[in-house]
């Protein structure tokens, strides 16, 4: 076989990992072997947390809807029940954003929902 030098292949591979771990603490952003482990953990967390982010966001919307409706004296559970009964199909994301951006529109929705009780 002809002689094969490995060249810079390994260096490029390690540089890629170190590029990913920029900003990590101490050895984890400087030394490849520590950085490799750190990177693997980080990618694993990222995978899981991409799914968690959606759950967390919905949780936030529900809390914000709860706060917004309690200002008017009705809680989230009853509000959602009335929404379903009134066939209003707005989702929690939209309701939470409305409560922040257009409180008058949120009040209109509450009117619609309470009226259909």
């Amino acid at each position: 076989m002809a002689r094969v030098k490995r060249g810079s292949v390994a260096r490029k591979r390690r540089r890629q990992v170190l590029k990913n771990t920029k900003g990590a603490r101490s050895a984890n952003s400087k030394l490849f072997r520590s950085a490799q482990q750190h990177n693997m953990k980080a990618l694993r967390y990222a995978y899981v947390d991409r799914r968690n982010k959606k759950r967390e966001a919905r949780r936030q919307w529900i809390i914000r809807c709860n706060s917004a409706t309690r200002l008017y004296g009705i809680g989230y559970s009853q509000f959602i029940h009335q929404l379903a009964k009134s066939q209003v199909r707005l989702n929690r994301k939209v309701l939470a954003q409305l409560a922040l951006s257009n409180p008058e529109d949120f009040k209109n929705i509450l009117q619609v929902v309470i009226e259909n009780e």
Partner: protein
């Protein structure tokens, strides 16, 4: 305003109201070449105060991107803009009082709530020495103190004894247990000001009285009151 879902109008009597909602919730169908972003920036209200039961929106108006999760802006967490509340603890049940206080400290009474930021207000509690407990808790509720790494140094104290010694601590401990534990929780706890008597040094902050809101659980909502609040009657 681009919305993810369409409002389905059901009742004929309130068609105009549904139309108003539907108009503001118009759905842009795909493929029409219309952008799903709103044409103009949307305003948003920074904070709502409940002053005497009235819902008041105050704060700066800003653009809000509907497609991004809302994260509190500087106005929401600015200490100078925080609302001060006052609660009179005289005769109030300890736990029910503490629940409400911790909610207002944390900012969970506002739609700008975020668990990682301090969007709550300051709460002043007066007459904390006259806070009430039910049942036999006055003589039977125990407070435990222990020095870590020193065996045999546990001290116990009943609620009545603590009331003689440091009455503010009763309310403080109750509220602290209901706040999140951690750096943010510690900061929130510093926003709680408890005083044993009716006097307090925070008159300059003009605290809003929220004593009447204790025990106001909208679990079985008083729909007549909600209708009034929402402006249906």
């Amino acid at each position: 305003m681009a919305m993810a879902h369409r409002v389905v109008a059901r009742s004929k009597a309130s068609t105009h109201r549904h139309a108003a909602v539907a108009k503001s919730c118009v759905v842009r169908p795909k493929g029409t070449g219309v952008t799903t972003r709103p044409a103009r920036g949307l305003d948003f209200a920074c904070r709502a105060t409940v002053a005497g039961g009235e819902v008041k929106w105050v704060g700066n108006r800003r653009k809000l991107d509907l497609n991004r999760k809302y994260y509190p802006k500087k106005e929401d967490v600015d200490t100078q803009k925080k609302v001060w509340y006052i609660v009179d603890a005289e005769g109030k049940t300890l736990g029910r009082l503490a629940t409400m206080v911790s909610m207002y400290l944390r900012g969970k009474h506002l739609p700008t709530f975020s668990p990682s930021m301090d969007t709550g207000g300051y709460v002043v509690v007066i007459n904390a020495d006259k806070v009430a407990v039910s049942g036999k808790k006055e003589t039977d509720k125990m407070y435990y103190y222990h020095r870590v790494h020193r065996p045999g140094t546990m001290k116990t104290e009943t609620l009545s004894e603590l009331r003689q010694r440091v009455p503010e601590r009763i309310v403080e401990r109750a509220v602290k247990g209901m706040l999140p534990k951690g750096r943010l929780g510690n900061t929130l706890f510093t926003h709680l000001k408890v005083y044993a008597g009716p006097e307090h040094p925070h008159e300059a902050q003009k605290p809003v009285d929220i004593t009447s809101l204790i025990d106001k659980k909208p679990k079985e909502a008083d729909l007549a009151a909600v209708r009034a609040a929402v402006g249906l009657e």
